[in-house]
């Protein structure tokens, strides 16, 4: 009996945990985050534009359809109409969507051109993907380190309670300054991976033997988390990305500390 009560209460607690919103996380997040860079804001706006256009079209088309489904039922004793072609109508409903598409294509083009402007970076970071971790190199500062998943194995195997940042935590996060144009260079040591940080609006494949680039200017200090987005083998789900955006002075401090550490041989 005692055991049974115990089991039931554990089950109820689990159920409660399962459905209770997790404090630090948006457990019911249904939309893209706006992010923290001008480009991620532009992406968010495009996404919402596309979304509302689709909703608008859906309302019109599905209303007409619903009207037919309700009114033009055989069970209501209606006689089917005989019309079955109308070339003018066909041409109209080819042109109207075309114009609507233009309203999406124009802002998308503008944003895309902005995104491709990788000129004048204030900091360059080379990201190299490995099976299954990331390596970050600050090319001008001479800092270079690996970033590995730091979630304990017990949590992965359900032997310990999962912490808030389960699978989204690393031993050495990438540290970057805010308000600076940061250029990222992407390459890979083995297979294709993809560096995705939703809050920065960046997703770029890392391809062995080739270098891709992208850039970000982060507006807010904070810790931002992402994951590898391209299937890269067994541990594809276990190579998270953590970026800490800090003030310029804190960043300089961090650089000094890193250089000091590596001089003493404690960092790799």
């Amino acid at each position: 009996m005692v055991l049974n009560y115990f089991k039931i209460s554990v089950f109820i607690i689990r159920l409660g945990l399962f459905f209770s919103p997790l404090s630090a996380l948006a457990a019911w997040q249904t939309n893209m985050s706006r992010g923290v860079t001008p480009l991620s804001h532009a992406i968010y706006n495009l996404h919402m534009l596309g979304f509302w256009i689709c909703v608008g079209i859906a309302v019109v088309v599905f209303s007409i359809m619903l009207f037919s489904l309700i009114r033009h039922r055989k069970s209501r004793g209606v006689e089917p109409a005989q019309f079955h072609e109308h070339p003018v109508l066909e041409i109209v409903w080819a042109i109207v969507p075309f114009i609507i598409l233009l309203t999406m294509a124009i802002p998308a083009t503008k944003t895309l051109i902005k995104m491709n402007d990788n000129s004048n970076p204030e900091l360059t970071i080379k990201v190299t993907a490995y099976q299954w971790r990331w390596r970050y190199a600050y090319l001008d500062q001479g800092i270079d380190f690996f970033s590995n998943l730091s979630t304990p194995v017990e949590e992965l195997q359900n032997r310990a309670k999962k912490n808030t940042w389960y699978l989204l935590e690393v031993d050495h996060p990438l540290v970057v300054p805010v308000h600076k144009k940061i250029r990222f260079l992407f390459t890979s040591n083995d297979v294709i991976h993809s560096w995705w940080l939703p809050t920065l609006g960046i997703k770029r494949d890392t391809i062995p033997g080739f270098i891709n680039e992208s850039w970000a200017r982060i507006d807010e200090e904070g810790t931002y988390r992402g994951q590898c987005a391209e299937l890269c083998g067994t541990n594809h789900a276990f190579m998270p990305i953590v970026v800490r955006a800090v003030s310029e002075s804190a960043f300089n401090q961090w650089i000094k500390q890193q250089l000091g550490d590596s001089a003493h041989g404690t960092n790799t």
Partner: protein, 527 residues
């Protein structure tokens, strides 16, 4: 050929005779039935793979499958569903119905037809054998991206390559047969623009198949060369380019999407007019729209590769072409809606599936237009948003069309009406299951969950649980489908008339239900 043509074959007696009858059959109806039953079996096998994936993803943490096996399941699920379930089901309907619809006695090349089908089970056996091989089964996703599929792949990959070649061969022979049949065997008086639209959809599809299947064959052969013969097509270290593989694959892969969806368009365009008791609106434009879609399908492939770092000019070009696809697709949706408008609608199971198709396929189309915007695609690509998108066009899209067609023609094929009540249960459970499974995936993708992960962080737990629940409802619903089909196959149910449906039009409905084994041995008259 001095044989006399027997109109009805006697039922075979004995096991060997039964096997011989089906193994050597060159009859389009029998081969069609084989295709349909084979794809049904594969649909269940691919479905079990999918349910294993959803079971693992029900909650975060390692539960059921290890990540290695999880990757094998995602790979197998994709390949089985696309190449062995969805493509053969439409080949099955083509075999059964195209000769009946155009008033032909059989397919133009019956022996090749037999061969094209029997290659498929062999390909399936080769493919499934990899699951039992040392190392592991292919574990790099159905897209088989190099170098994960070359240098880093398990030995069983060679069997996958062989299976892909076999499936390609089968599709090519099927496509050639359909083109020759449609172009040469139409009854006198049936001009191209009088042909039922399902035949048109398959004609366009067959040309797409002939154009792109060899490209896939080339790509997997280059994979094989890279793996064993020291070439470096896809290896930068040897002067090659991993992206070359992706270009080749998607030059096949994007038309492949339309190879899957065009026959579905054709089926829906047959079924909606029947239950609206009104002619298909804008037949000509429906045909033109398919031709435009087929043309555009060749110049959009890079939209699968926007995050690979293609140059700005290419990104702009492929963004515009991808968006353009919305225009002909829109024409099709508007025409279906207008066909229903002021018709006299009734809601038998085939019509229910068709209506769900129009609504849910359109939702998949909407997310498709959003995906075409390159900057937004940087967030969507390789996330669950993409998974939601393509499952909306493939499951309540292509698969619902196949289910609609099954209910539509089952009485014609078996001679008995299916059980309408079971059909409706099947429909409603399926439609609820599909939406519960795939709609939350949009949210997951937008919130940042990548696809093909064996485990995920806690913020994604709620919607994943809902999605898994939906998947099991959808899986359960298919048991009704099986029951309906088995009952009909064994003749349980009311006797069906030749015309079956009040609003049915077309040559196949002028025959008895079931039609004689050899039909239209003399061409029918078309007025």
């Amino acid at each position: 050929m001095e044989q006399t043509l027997e109109l009805e074959h006697p039922t075979p007696k004995g096991f060997l005779a039964f096997i011989k009858r089906w193994l050597f059959s060159t009859n389009h109806k029998e081969i069609g039935t084989l295709y349909l039953l084979f794809s049904l079996l594969m649909f269940f096998i691919g479905g079990i793979f999918a349910l294993l994936i959803r079971a693992e993803l029900f909650q975060p943490g390692a539960r059921l499958l290890n990540p290695e096996f999880f990757n094998q399941m995602t790979t197998m699920h994709g390949i089985v569903m696309l190449f062995l379930a969805i493509m053969p089901v439409f080949s099955g309907f083509a075999n059964w119905m195209i000769p009946l619809m155009i008033g032909a006695p059989d397919m133009a090349m019956p022996r090749m037809n037999n061969w094209a089908f029997w290659i498929l089970p062999v390909a399936a056996i080769v493919l499934f054998s990899t699951l039992f091989m040392e190392g592991s089964a292919p574990n790099f996703g159905w897209t088989m991206y190099a170098p994960l599929s070359t240098t880093f792949a398990p030995p069983s990959t060679d069997h996958l390559i062989l299976a892909v070649h076999l499936m390609g061969l089968s599709s090519l022979m099927g496509a050639i047969n359909i083109i020759v049949t449609i172009l040469n065997l139409r009854a006198p008086g049936m001009t191209m623009m009088k042909m039922p639209i399902f035949c048109w959809s398959w004609l366009v599809t067959a040309f797409l198949l002939i154009a792109v299947m060899p490209v896939l064959a080339a790509a997997v052969t280059m994979m094989l060369m890279d793996r064993h013969f020291s070439t470096s097509f896809f290896s930068a270290a040897g002067g090659g380019d991993p992206l070359l593989y992706q270009h080749l694959f998607w030059f096949f892969g994007h038309p492949e999407v339309y190879i899957i969806i065009l026959p579905a368009f054709g089926l829906i365009s047959q079924i909606i007019p029947t239950f609206s008791r009104k002619k298909l609106f804008g037949y000509n434009f429906m045909v033109y729209a398919m031709l435009v879609i087929a043309f555009l399908s060749f110049i959009v492939w890079v939209h699968h590769m926007f995050v690979t770092g293609v140059p700005l000019a290419a990104e702009l070009f492929f963004m515009y072409t991808s968006m353009l696809i919305a225009v002909p697709t829109g024409i099709k949706v508007f025409n279906w809606v207008t066909t229903m408008y002021r018709g006299a609608l009734s809601f038998e199971t085939p019509m229910l599936f068709s209506i769900a198709f129009v609504i849910l396929f359109t939702i998949g189309g909407f997310s498709g237009v959003m995906l075409a915007m390159v900057p937004a695609d940087f967030q969507y690509q390789d996330s669950y948003f993409v998974v939601a998108h393509f499952h909306y066009v493939l499951v309540p899209g292509a698969l619902f069309a196949a289910m609609a067609a099954t209910y539509y023609w089952l009485p014609k094929m078996t001679g008995v009406m299916y059980n309408e009540r079971l059909g409706q249960y099947h429909f409603w459970l399926s439609v609820i299951g599909v939406n519960l499974t795939f709609f939350p995936m949009h949210f997951l993708g937008l919130a940042g969950m990548p696809r093909r992960v064996a485990d995920y962080s806690l913020q994604f737990a709620n919607f994943n649980a809902i999605s898994s629940l939906g998947a099991f409802i959808f899986g359960f619903a298919q048991l009704f489908f099986i029951i309906v089909i088995i009952r009909s196959m064994f003749g349980k149910g009311e006797k069906a008339t030749g015309k079956v449906w009040e609003g049915a039009e077309g040559l196949e409905w002028t025959l008895s239900s079931p039609p004689p084994l050899h039909s239209f041995t003399t061409p029918p008259k078309i007025n």
